[in-house]
Symmetry: C2
């Protein structure tokens, strides 16, 4: 693979994943509904993206009750923060190669 | 969807698609085997990516014989060139938003 593409992380390829990570890295934690609305995603779509990112250890999920209602929040892990920073640098390297 | 994600084009999301387009925009045309080797892709993988990009009108495919052997080459269309430039600008906008 061309070197400047090498460090682009497949886990962050899609617009939705970029969106989820870019929101979580600048927030302590964000709940499901807020993420869904910010990114115009369906429940199912957001659930599958967050589950994959969780399985990769890039985000963690907290489930609690607020009053009688279940509430799910997500936060980025240190591993996720580092992997995302590396991905953003790789995107920047890629763009530099396109003389942007 | 967050504005700075808006213009990111799903057609160019994957590493392979970024690779194909970034090679084609700086070459008159590139043949299948060269693309495959440059990007470490399988025949099937490259064929499916190029077919999608072709269906979107972003690249075109030329098939000819060189001696007795069939040869397939790809080149970027004006529509593809413009869409890819817009995508790269959107990635740059996105990165700016991450204070990279």
């Amino acid at each position: 693979m061309k070197e400047y593409l090498e460090n682009i992380n497949k886990a962050f390829e899609s617009k939705a994943r970029l969106g989820i990570m870019s929101i979580l890295v600048v927030n302590e934690s964000v709940d499901f509904v807020t993420l869904k609305n910010l990114l115009d995603l369906t429940d199912g779509n957001l659930a599958s993206h967050t589950r994959s990112l969780e399985e990769l250890g890039y985000i963690q999920c907290q489930k609690q009750f607020i009053g009688r209602r279940p509430n799910t929040t997500f936060s980025v892990t240190q591993k996720g923060r580092e992997a995302f920073a590396k991905h953003l640098n790789a995107l920047e390297e890629f763009l530099k190669n396109q003389n942007i």
